[in-house]
Symmetry: C2
Subunit: 268 residues, 2 copies
């Protein structure tokens, strides 16, 4: 047994593993481990998911925007090559899901060694495009009911103009979009940059527990053209959505932000 | 720079430290470090708090029961030798706070090297008793408006009868009591034992983020003889409570439990 270590701001999270199942990649360094938290995907040294808690992240990223929308027929997912986001989005029976993943090898190796997509990527309604997500969002002439940004890092700090433009385009081409926005506790500069670079569009932030991510506290952005209120409980029931973490109470609770986060939002 | 490591269930949290300020103790092994998360207290190898996030834990443990009570004049704190709980409870201007800490050296060394009590333990309204908390609760003939159980571990798994009796007594001698109940994500057996051993009294569970604790997700029990609803926002304003994490929205949101936790509660 050995330890995988991921450092952040003078702290680190370690996971014990019995085997490294894969290491390789062209665009990114892909590592896949068999760990005490199940199988684990690491990209460029950062844990992307473990089987023990990926359901929390994917449910919070996907069901919050999907349930805010009254009828999500057409869905775009940027990133998310592991297929966990597609798996959750399919629960809403959309007509089509387009997934734009920059790194084909992430998709291939996740399917070969892990398979958290649970067959979702083979679904007839799912179209996978291998392309840069920012480029796709910039150029597309399509509009989407729901857009989900899963894991691409538009380099919030060094390229604020590009980031602001990206969020603007996401807002333009969708009714509702969500994006993961890192740890507000350990990655404060990053989070502040996201707040600043998104301040020109309508958006709210929400948070979730996420044990294998730095600080165990993860933030998300939700941007909507159709308001932020809905009868979530009724929609969960109508659509027959089954989850392991997310529910209507968690949906509403995730928008309650602590004082120190509200201060960061007010600075932006 | 070296690393302090705390392991849990095949994972570990590490904090970088530049200096070990103290090591000693008679009842427990006390270590105090100067770390990347500020000063840090460790008892028997487990992180008790870091200056960077102790406010989250202490605010969630103390203000939830204190604000549920309409007029908390008389407060009992079991454990909490660092004084962080007393510091938060004093914000409610009670007439008296009794703190029962089993280990005098924890109080002395925390004050000497850290001081998160911010002078609270010198307050005229605060009475510190060095005694076993379970024994105190068993024998006292006093009643308290609010009782806060901060950190003593009544050994939920190996001594269920003793634990059940302890919770029963806490319920008997207080209007409202709260207790920290560990990580529901990594310490599932422990949490299930708490659920079982408290099932004979009225109680609810609530959760909070806590970056330096295992999984970053921490649970608490709240037991009340006066119901579980109150106008928290009004009371915060009336009492002039200033916090860095806790607020009325967080209070209510902390009772929203994920599906996997609700399943554990239903088993109990």
């Amino acid at each position: 047994m050995e330890w995988f270590v991921e450092e952040h701001d003078g702290t680190a999270f370690m996971v014990r593993y019995d085997k490294k199942l894969y290491e390789g990649g062209k665009m990114q360094r892909i590592e896949i481990y068999s760990t005490s938290m199940g199988k684990m995907l690491v990209l460029d040294g950062k844990i992307q998911f473990t089987e023990a808690d990926e359901f929390i992240y994917h449910e919070m990223l996907v069901h919050v925007p999907m349930l805010l929308h009254p009828n999500p027929r057409k869905v775009l997912i940027i990133g998310g090559g592991d297929g966990g986001g597609v798996r959750e989005a399919l629960k809403h029976s959309p007509d089509e899901i387009t997934m734009v993943e920059i790194d084909r090898m992430v998709v291939e190796k996740c399917r070969e060694y892990i398979g958290i997509d649970a067959g979702a990527l083979d679904d007839d309604r799912v179209n996978v495009i291998y392309e840069d997500g920012m480029k796709f969002v910039e150029e597309t002439e399509e509009r989407y009911d729901v857009l989900i940004i899963d894991g691409t890092d538009p380099n919030m700090i060094s390229q604020p103009l590009e980031t602001a433009r990206f969020f603007e385009r996401c807002h333009e081409i969708s009714d509702v979009f969500s994006s993961q926005t890192q740890s507000p506790f350990f990655q404060k500069d990053y989070f502040r940059a996201i707040v600043k670079n998104s301040s020109h569009i309508s958006r709210k932030f929400y948070i979730s527990y996420m044990p294998s991510y730095p600080s165990g506290m993860w933030s998300f952005m939700l941007s909507s053209r159709i308001g932020y209120e809905a009868d979530i409980e009724r929609r969960i029931e109508e659509r027959g959505i089954k989850t392991r973490h997310y529910n209507a109470s968690i949906h509403h609770a995730s928008f309650a932000l602590p004082e120190w986060m509200k201060e960061m939002l007010n600075e932006g």
